[in-house]
Amino acid sequence: MDIITVSKLRKSYRKGQVQALRGLNFTVDEGEIYGLIGPDGAGKTTLFRIMATLLLPDEGTVSVDGLDVVRDYKAIRRRIGYMPGRFSLYQDLSVEENLSFFASIFHTSIEENYDLVKDIYGQIEPFKTRKAGKLSGGMKQKLALSCALIHAPRVLILDEPTTGVDPVSRKEFWEMLKRLRLQHGITIIVSTPYMDEAGQCDHIALMQDGEFLRLDTPSGIVGAYTDTLWAVQADDMHRLLDDLRACPEVLTAFSFGEAFHVTVREEARMQELAAYLAGLGHRRVEVTPIQATVEDCFMSLMKKSDEG
């Protein structure tokens, strides 16, 4: 069953000069983790704010749990847990005071819904008298999630919850989200600029310039990738990128961790590319075939949408 339905959604700023959302359509199933993946400025925050009844759409409709975000905004505000891009906590209030405040404005208390948050809040409870401003990024994130969760919402809307948080906390965070979905059946819609987090979602939408490039499961998106993809490494990585991009066999070349991911023409051979690069004076050239990741798919889709 669909818990969120978005259709023909458009939103622009500054009297239409900036098109933030250009006609979005998608649905979110009840009880799934739906990921919105895209770089800064793709329109993720605008979309989330509309779902959280904080912005009005220019065109199109959005319904959350069967309620219209414009007409029934009051009812929706009781059913969603919204966590904005920055961890919106009161820095001068302690961990416990923050959580208890957010519980009270939703007509509940920490005790009443402790079961729901104990998995997350339990981790920071030893520091409950510490001021929120003195917490580490990972702890702030856990507190903010606890605050968004304390009133047992039907839907959690999390805007870039892992931005600015260390890799270990990021991993832990996704584990927490998965447990929430499994144990409490909460629908979670989450945005992130990190492509490597896409695999944690049930469905993802790749977003760019206010449009969806593709909506699918992570494996569906990777499976639809048809290009030949190699990872290339050499000693002088800086010069390597220029040489790769100048090579007629190479279609695209992007930096990806320690290597470059290149897509090549179908008839290209790995040995030929290695020999070509060695001929240009590169030492210790390594070319290996690899499986596409969501990021490769995103790059490829982005390029196609630019060309199209």
Binding site: R49, A52, T53, L54, L55, L56, Y73, K74, R77, R78, I80, Y82, M83, P84, G85, R86, S88, L89, Y90, Q91, D92, L93, E97, S100, F101, F102, S104, I105, F106, H107, C147, A148
Partner: protein, 370 residues
């Protein structure tokens, strides 16, 4: 709703109590201002240096001289024997006040005539000149009153001092600063602190969470205003107690009336702060806009310069300054001691301002982010 509100209110008090700078501004500033003003006033009137030119040299002028010397406001530093020497010391800043007794002072008084006495003051600082003149007149009149009373002779016509204010003959000033301090302090606290407190939520992003919650906007606004209302009341009390105990400024008119009008003024200032918070996005902008409101207030409210002596254009502008009306009411209630019904027009203006500001803010307060 009630539990939500109380919880929000507690949070607001936490914000205030945990920020030392805020606390300092809120609680210490009014006291410092009062002591500063009060101290300035007491040093002005005490120990004024007096020179006496006695052309009569009889027993009455001798008594008067002793009376002046005994007063805690004056100390006689010199006697001069001609008027030009007197003026020279006045001009040279050696003395603050000069008293000239006319010839045959005692016999003139005995005959029931009008002996002449002249008081010369340095009018460079009009406040001080007016106060010194007043004190000198009191000292002289009090003594002559006892003299004539004992003999069953009416003190009138008595003597009529001829007062001449030198260097600034038109000098006009008020020293009834207590209403002005209340007017300013409340403005600062209510407008600046309130607008900053609301805008801080926008800046920190917490407003986004509050708006996306079922919290009614009225609850947010009320919880923001109530603490500053309470603190303003506390400050009002402090200032009044200080002015009565430390500065011995009595409240001449009705105290409940004065408090009622002050509470109304606090509301006007709170709503002004609320209004500012609805038009700006950052704390810095809130502070600048508040200052932009408060600084003209100092000049246009009659605290420093009388409104009547301003150019007509500025007088018209001063009509929209709430402090102008409040200071006017407060001075009349506190210093002149008139009854509340004599200031109903000014009170009505404040009421109107409160209504308009609240209405506009309420309309502008957003239930969404745009």
């Amino acid at each position: 709703m009630k539990k939500q509100f109380l919880s929000f209110l507690r949070k607001e008090f936490y914000h205030i109590f945990r920020d030392k700078r805020t606390m300092l501004i809120l609680l210490v500033m009014p006291i410092v201002l009062m002591i500063l003003f009060g101290f300035a006033i007491t040093t002005e009137v005490k120990d004024s240096r007096v020179a006496i030119l006695d052309l009569s040299k009889d027993e009455v002028t001798a008594q008067l001289r002793e009376r002046i010397a005994a007063s805690r406001y004056f100390s006689i530093t010199a006697g001069e024997d001609n008027i030009s020497a007197l003026e020279a010391s006045l001009r040279g800043g050696k003395i603050d006040v000069a008293v000239v007794f006319g010839e045959q002072f005692a016999s003139e008084l005995r005959r029931g005539g009008r002996p002449s006495v002249q008081i010369l003051v340095d009018g460079t600082e009009p406040n001080q000149a007016a106060i010194r003149t007043g004190y000198m007149q009191q000292v002289l009149a009090a003594h002559l009153h006892t003299l004539t009373e004992g003999r069953g002779v009416s003190p009138f016509p008595g003597i009529t001092p001829v007062v001449r204010t030198l260097y600034n003959p038109q000098g006009k000033s008020e020293y009834n600063f207590v209403p002005a301090v209340i007017g300013l302090v409340l403005m600062l606290i209510c407008v600046m602190m309130t607008s900053i407190a609301i805008v801080r939520e926008k800046e920190a992003g917490t407003m986004e969470v509050l708006l996306a919650s079922p919290l009614p906007p009225l609850c947010i606004v009320l919880a923001k205003l109530v603490p500053y209302f309470a603190i303003s009341c506390l400050n009002l009390t402090t200032i009044l107690v200080l002015s009565v105990t430390m500065l011995h400024i009595p409240i001449a008119g009705s105290l409940p009336g004065f408090i009622a009008v002050s509470l109304l003024y606090i509301l006007v200032a709170l709503f002004l702060g609320l209004f500012i918070s609805t038009v700006v996005r950052s704390q810095l902008a809130a502070m600048l806009l508040s200052l932009l409101v408060i600084i003209p207030t100092i000049y246009l409210s009659g605290i420093l310069f009388p409104v009547e002596s301003m150019p007509v254009a500025l007088q018209c502008v001063s009509v929209i300054v709430p402090t102008r009306w409040y200071v006017d009411i407060a001075r009349r209630l506190m210093i002149q001691g008139v009854e509340l019904r004599y200031v109903w027009r000014e009170t009505l203006v404040l009421l109107l301002m409160a209504g308009v500001l609240l209405g506009v803010s309420w309309k502008k307060f957003k239930i969404r982010l745009e």
